[in-house]
């Protein structure tokens, strides 16, 4: 890049790259190996150098139309073909189609007698001849360091190697040179000083009896690249590197809501469910119904006609189906309709990397809308590795917009156990299931710890696993705290009694009042009757008085008349 003297970074021509076709490796190298330049692939014995180099050629020939030359200094071409046949590479077919040449360079130190000066021109002749035969764009030299064991004159050898790498560059072929890992340096014979454009280091570590292969790009001249150690796998489908964040946290996100499968839980979440593509952690103690929640979630996914992939690490599919039938879920019909797929395996079956690849492959094949992993706590191993495994699994799901539902077994009743803390930051939603021990019983209580991008209930809710589904009991939060189970029912009964007593007292008071009203009204009537009697008496007396007055007047008139007549 430096020689090209680009005027500015913006119009700097991008380094041309030769894609390896190895899943993940092209991501971390941002496109592949430097085209037309040699790349050193070094690592200790058995870490997959030859296989990766061969994959580079086979993919080049099959997918990118680049013919290749494999110059082997160790294995014979028949052995090479047989070794990679297990990966499904048809070496003989490629050779017959003139897309690949394998040249085995036999070095037998015991047969070599040196007398005087020599050089390695035949190596160039052989390479040039092989390249011309198929018009090769890619060359692998595996492992050129074997020359050092056959020839003691290192001065000649090093001069010739320098010439060889220069020659490869001049021919413009993309070369991969493998090298055995040495003490304190990348390769045993320090050939990294000749091959300096791109160096990839492979490593094979055993931890707790589980082997993990790792890959690191030590340098990549003229290009940025992922700098971490990335685990990679070699299995029946070839080599795949697992870049921890191949998408670089740029997932497309969705505002769609996916119901949880539990109506009452939906109500606790501000938008009535999870966002599609979010990662959900359901942590809980033993027997708090984690699998039941998972099954309801899976059921809800399938009921909507979407596919769900269920990774079970503790139960067999049949056992899950049987157990969930008692919880009122018929998972079998979803399995039969092809919407639900179970993948059961003991966590100890393989290492974390193998599990991850298997899941990755299954997800890629089944294309589910949701994934359930029950439980993630079944993974045993170094915490940081579990963490990175889950991180990558969550990323795989996020990348594809898959809603991922993880359950985790908490060990102590403290909900923030080590395992949960480790993964909770990866999760968008965290629901905790726990149980409350009181009044001689254990009651299940759930609460929503966090939901990214959504308001949610802050309540601790008791829930009941019934045959009609998971029901959340109405919360009782009062002076007595959160009451659950029998205590909650007792408290409710007490409250009912108190209410009854209160209403009875009111009725009694009303009746009393009625009685008093009646008696007062009776008194009023009596008084009124007395008054009326008095009034009529008075009237009668008045009338009598008036009558008497008239009689008196009449008498007086009569007496006057009589007196007048006599007078």
């Amino acid at each position: 890049m430096k020689e090209q003297k680009a005027p500015g970074p913006e119009d700097k021509p991008a380094l041309e790259k030769a894609p390896t076709g190895i899943k993940g490796l092209d991501d971390v190298t941002l496109g592949g190996l430097p085209q037309g330049r040699p790349t050193l692939l070094c690592g200790s014995a058995g870490c997959g150098k030859t296989l990766i180099a061969m994959t580079f050629l086979v993919n080049g020939a099959v997918d990118y139309g680049d013919a290749g030359v494999f110059m082997s200094f160790e294995e014979r071409s028949e052995d090479l073909a047989a070794n990679v046949a297990s990966l499904g590479y048809d070496i003989e077919g490629l050779i017959a189609d003139k897309k690949l040449v394998i040249d085995h360079v036999r070095i037998e130190p015991s047969e070599i007698e040196v007398s005087g000066e020599f050089d390695f021109e035949p190596l160039f002749v052989r390479l040039a001849y092989a390249i011309e035969q198929v018009g090769a764009k890619r060359v692998v030299l595996d492992t050129i360091e074997a020359l050092f064991s056959g020839f003691t004159d290192q001065a000649i050898l090093r001069a010739e190697l320098r010439r060889l790498f220069g020659w490869l560059k001049d021919r413009g072929v993309t070369a991969v040179i493998t090298g055995e890992r040495g003490d304190g340096q990348l390769t045993r014979y320090a050939i990294e000083e000749y091959v300096s454009d791109c160096v990839i280091l492979l490593d094979n570590r055993v931890h707790d009896q589980v082997t993990t292969r790792r890959l690191r790009i030590v340098k990549y001249r003229g290009s940025s690249h992922g700098t971490n150690e990335y685990p990679f796998l070699i299995d029946a489908r070839g080599v795949s590197v697992m870049p921890i964040t191949s998408a670089g946290l740029q997932h497309r996100i969705s505002s769609d809501i996916v119901p949880t499968g539990v109506a009452d839980l939906d109500a606790m979440l501000g938008k009535g469910g999870f966002y599609r593509g979010s990662s959900i952690l359901l942590s809980g103690l033993a027997g708090t119904g984690k699998s039941t929640f998972s099954a309801w979630f899976a059921n809800a996914v399938c009921e909507r006609g979407e596919r769900c992939l269920y990774f079970a690490f503790e139960e067999s599919p049949d056992q899950i189906i049987r157990n969930m039938r008692s919880a009122g879920i018929d998972l079998e019909k979803h399995v039969r309709s092809g919407l639900l797929m179970f993948e059961s395996a003991r966590p100890s079956l393989y290492g974390l990397e193998m599990h991850l690849t298997r899941m990755h492959r299954d997800i890629a094949e089944f294309q589910p809308a949701a994934v359930v992993v029950d439980p993630i706590s079944a993974f045993r191993g170094v915490q940081s590795e579990i963490h990175s495994t889950l991180l990558r699994l969550a990323d795989i799901c996020k990348e594809r917009g898959i809603t991922a539902f993880f359950t985790s077994l908490s060990l102590a009743s403290d909900h923030t156990t080590e395992a949960d803390r480790g993964v909770s930051s990866l999760m968008d939603v965290w629901i905790s299931l726990t149980d409350v021990e009181a009044s001689g019983e254990r009651n299940r209580v759930m609460f929503v710890l966090k939901v990214r991008g959504m308001s949610h209930s802050n309540q601790m809710r008791e829930y009941l696993l019934t045959s009609d589904g998971i029901k959340l009991a109405a919360p009782y939060i009062g002076s007595e705290g959160v009451l659950t189970g029998a205590a909650r029912q007792a408290q409710e009964a007490r409250e009912r009694d108190a209410a009854t007593a209160r209403s009875q007292a009111t009725e009694r008071r009303l009746r009393e009042l009625g009685r008093r009203r009646a008696s007062i009204e009776r008194q009023i009537a009596e008084l009124r009757a007395g008054l009326e009697a008095e009034e009529s008496e008075t009237e009668m007396l008045t009338n009598q008085e008036v009558g008497r007055e008239q009689v008196l007047l009449a008498d007086r008139a009569a007496m006057a008349a009589k007196r007048g007549a006599a007078e």
Partner: protein, 109 residues
């Protein structure tokens, strides 16, 4: 470009040497190797040898076919086993050891 120095002896006879010298172009090293080989053979194997010089630039396919890695390479094809000596053959002692020829011993009758 292969020139043969045919011996008058019967090739099937024991003690007959079939030698092949691989070179890549007319470099000083290959010229030296050819002349060194000729003088050694004349001295120690007079009349009992064939030398075939093969230029890999002319027949590149033979480089892979005969497993040639360095030049000059001298291959003793007969008598068996096959032996290889690389270098310009300037060290006569080593050439004789490599070809399994006892030095000092006069050539067989």
């Amino acid at each position: 470009m292969s020139d043969k120095h045919q011996a008058t002896f019967d090739p099937a006879k024991p003690g007959y040497y079939n030698l092949r010298l691989y070179v890549a172009g007319q470099t000083p090293k290959s010229v030296a190797a050819i002349s060194n080989l000729k003088s050694i053979c004349e001295e120690h194997l007079a009349g009992m040898y064939t030398i075939e010089v093969i230029d890999l630039l002319v027949k590149p396919q033979l480089a892979a076919g005969d497993q040639i890695l360095a030049v000059p390479t001298l291959v003793r094809r007969l008598p068996p086993p096959i032996k290889r000596i690389i270098g310009n053959l300037s060290n006569t002692e080593r050439v004789l050891v490599g070809l399994d020829i006892q030095s000092g011993e006069p050539p067989a009758s």
